[in-house]
């Protein structure tokens, strides 16, 4: 079946502009995660959605970052007034049960470059 889909795959934007990154999780998966990965680094947790519960936003680095998940499916990560340090690959993942007992299925990420 279809995996996790992220769009766009690449995004170049000017400093100060807003960007929206989209994630389509696997159908029926209740949990959805956003991570950020800088070049050659590990994955930095950003935000976690589980069903209808309030999202865990504890990893968002600043109030310029926000995310929503509509209808328990598609998610959008928005970065306002982008800065050069926001340049990274943004990875989305979904899992079936939402606990850490189920593997995460990752999209191929959006590579964001802020010039």
């Amino acid at each position: 079946g279809a995996g996790v889909s992220q769009s766009p795959s690449n995004k170049v934007t000017e400093k100060g502009k807003d960007v929206e990154l989209r994630c389509d999780p696997i159908s029926g998966h209740t949990a959805l995660y956003w991570y950020r990965q800088s070049l050659g680094q590990g994955l930095e947790f950003l935000i976690y959605f589980q069903g209808n519960s309030a999202p865990d936003k504890s990893g968002l680095p600043s109030d310029r970052f926000s995310a929503e998940r509509t209808g328990g499916s598609v998610s959008t990560l928005t970065i306002q007034r982008t800065q050069q340090e926001d340049s990274a690959v943004y990875l989305c993942a979904s899992s079936s049960t939402g606990t850490a007992n189920s593997p995460l299925h990752f999209g191929n990420g959006t590579r964001l470059t802020v010039t």
């Binding site: 995660y33 991570y35 590990g42 994955l43 947790f45 606990t99 007992n101 593997p103 990752f106």
Partner: protein, 111 residues
Amino acid sequence: SQQGEEDPQALSIQEGENATMNCSYKTSINNLQWYRQNSGRGLVHLILIRSNEREKHSGRLRVTLDTSKKSSSLLITASRAADTASYFCATDAYGGFKTIFGAGTRLFVKA
């Protein structure tokens, strides 16, 4: 902050040799997972080991877990050039409702 820390940060071996990567974590966990990442894009799940398990196998992969030392190891036997990738451990953290990744080990297998 990261829950898991991999060691070594980078590893270079010859094809056919075994590769061992280690992961240490800080808090109690319900399970630990290992993932592989090629080309800096999406990660692929390799294996999950539960806290009440000590060893698990999948093909050429062997994972061990020592909860008393809060550590895990991933062994890849008879490595191949195609195993060249970054390998990450991941754990549930602080109640089991989200998955936290370590910094990863970059493995390079020379043909």
